[in-house]
């Protein structure tokens, strides 16, 4: 196909990703803070879309957080990643899909660095052999898990029980999307839409009936900053950046926020709680916050899975007002049940931020 004019320009912002057969690697943060999101990503891909997504118990972190907190040398991070690639090769896969944006950036950076400096790749091969007696192939394709949901967004939309619309008025919900810095700021051509027009989330939102809000600080970092959150003394940086985003989006009255990176939904959710405690300010209606979701949670809601099976009870910002606006049923009595329906103690309540 010969692309011309605007079609050619836009082709630079697209990427073709393989249809099937993926080697899956988990995320340090997503599995700790949004465990059901990883479960439902696999369920949607395997059970609803019929895709082959393989996981081995032997894989580990990519080391990305330790690397970007400057606590391990680059060679250590590269050799950990080389081991992941070796496990993929041993399992017979060529496409790697990762649950984490920092991992996605890390894998991409490493492959690109090896391409430019082949002597470094040779050194890492030697390291891996010495340490683990393993050999690796570079993946033919590295995707972030949201890339697969984006690719199949219309199939998911065709199975939808609910849409991102107000159940009473039929108006589209007003949705803020937050991409996460390491998805496409370092290597723009690796993300859907690049760094200028990232559409991995906006594509999902529009396919499922919502309206994407554009606002001044749309591309600003959530404020994680690795050491700037992980060290308690530095968290002023983290909350200040989140505060800047919320002040910027507030006039547009968002109904919800959808996120790409595992860390961003944690910070955008929890810092709303902290801002409410520090300043008495809330950003949603009637004393509530603006609910923040992972893309797997939004896909799960659209597909009609139970909100508490999706893990929405472990968000600090209450999701019930949004569920009611869409018309998604939920049972408040089941919100804080433990394993097998066991009654366990309920969480405490914030001082200011209204919760259900």
């Amino acid at each position: 196909m010969i692309y011309q004019g605007k079609q050619k320009i836009w082709s630079d912002y697209q990427k073709d990703i393989p249809d099937d057969h993926w080697f899956y690697v988990r995320s340090c943060i997503r599995q700790s803070f949004f465990p059901a999101s990883e479960k439902y990503f696999l369920k949607i891909c395997r059970d609803l879309l019929g895709k082959d997504v393989y996981e081995t118990e032997h894989h580990t972190t990519c080391g990305g957080i330790a690397y970007h907190s400057d606590t391990i040398p680059q060679e250590t991070a590269m050799t950990i990643v080389a081991r992941q690639f070796a496990l993929m090769k041993e399992a017979g896969y060529k496409n790697l899909v990762t649950s984490c944006i920092t991992s996605f950036g890390n894998y991409t950076e490493i492959i690109e660095t090896w391409r430019e400096f082949p002597e470094l790749e040779a050194k890492i091969r030697e390291n891996l052999w010495k340490a683990c007696r393993r050999e690796f192939d570079i993946p033919e394709y590295v995707a972030h898990a949201s890339d697969l949901i984006f690719k199949f967004k219309d199939e998911i939309g065709s199975l939808a029980k609910y849409h991102l619309v107000d159940g009473v008025t039929g108006e589209p919900l007003r949705v803020v999307e937050h991409i996460g810095c390491h998805y496409s700021k370092m290597f723009p051509h690796k993300g859907f839409g690049g760094a200028e027009y990232p559409c991995v989330l906006s594509g999902m939102v529009e396919s499922w009936g919502g309206h994407v809000i554009d606002y001044p600080e749309r591309r600003h970092c959530c404020g994680f900053g690795f050491r700037q959150y992980l060290v308690k003394a530095n968290r002023g940086y983290s909350v200040s950046n989140t505060h800047k985003k919320f002040e910027s989006m507030e006039p547009y009255h968002p109904d919800m926020i959808i996120t790409n990176c595992p860390g961003c939904p944690y910070f955008l959710d929890r810092w709303q709680y902290v801002i409410s405690e520090m300043e008495g300010k809330t950003y949603g209606q009637n004393g509530y916050g603006i609910p923040v979701f992972t893309y797997e949670e939004v896909a799960g809601l659209v597909l009609g899975f139970d909100p508490w099976d999706l893990g929405l009870q472990i968000h600090q910002v209450a999701v019930e007002p949004l569920l009611e606006k869409i018309g998604i049923p939920y049972d408040p009595k089941k919100k804080y049940l433990g394993l097998d329906g066991k009654e366990i103690m309920k969480p405490g309540l914030p001082t200011v931020l209204k919760c259900c």
């Binding site: 660095t113 760094a195 308690k232 530095n234 940086y237 893990g311 968000h315 914030p350």
Partner: protein, 233 residues
């Protein structure tokens, strides 16, 4: 050419991150850290490319190289394809190798970070893990996450995790042979050497500051002195 500049040139991130800076300041304009901290990536990159040993040494001992959040927003926007965030990573790496990181308050935070993150990697297979995520260190996690941490088996189990179980799944137990491979990777790739180096320099600094290593860990994790932020007098 200065000896510190020569050392930086050995770092692949430096090779990737410093082409020719034209001092336009776009990186500073887009930088989330510069918005709040007394931090100017333009000045840092310019200092480095002047190859002045004394100026680079001052940077390696400074607070300023520790303000970056490594979001890499600067990489997207630099009109000359520099990566100021990558230059920062190379400066931090050299600061740690030379032991200069203990000369600044923000640099000394390398110690609690190194202990916590690599402890998790080597013991649990992941950089972050609920087993070591203490609510007392993370009150911002909110009452809902305090509840999660107090009911880990129930809540993670309810949400489909294989919490510390065998086989694949969310938060599974990582087999010992895999943790042993991670340790072996640290041993051959400079990771173990780095941990020992950070331990050695941090213990020496703790002694100089009249603290036990436990006091030093808590102090570097919790304490912030005035003077880091733009809005301070």
């Amino acid at each position: 050419m200065g000896k510190f500049y020569d050392e930086l040139c050995k770092d692949y991130r430096f090779k990737e991150g410093l082409k020719t800076c034209i001092n336009c300041g776009t990186c500073t304009a887009i930088c989330p850290a510069a918005e709040f901290y007394r931090y100017d990536p333009r000045k840092i990159v310019d200092t480095v490319q002047r190859k002045d040993d004394a100026a680079i040494e001052a940077l390696l001992k400074s607070e300023t190289i520790w303000y970056c959040g490594e979001c890499m927003s600067c990489v997207t926007r630099c009109p000359r394809k520099n990566g100021p965030g990558l230059v920062i990573m190379a400066l931090r790496n050299l600061s740690i190798k030379l032991g200069y990181f203990t000369e600044s308050e923000k640099g000394r935070q390398v110690y609690p970070l190194t202990k916590a993150l690599n402890g998790n990697v080597l013991n649990y297979g992941y950089c972050v893990h609920p087993a070591t995520f203490a609510y007392s260190d993370h009150p911002e996690a909110g009452p809902v996450f305090e509840w999660v941490l107090n009911n880990k088996e129930d809540v993670y189990g309810r949400l489909g995790a294989n919490y510390q179980g065998k086989g694949p799944g969310v938060l599974r137990h990582i087999p010992q042979e895999d943790l042993d491979e991670l340790k072996a990777i640290y041993d051959v790739s400079g990771g173990t050497e780095r941990l020992e180096l950070v331990e050695k320099y941090s213990r020496a600094k703790a002694e100089e500051m009249g603290m036990s290593i436990e006091e030093y860990t808590a102090y570097t994790f919790n304490h912030i002195s005035p003077g880091h932020f733009n809005n301070e007098q």
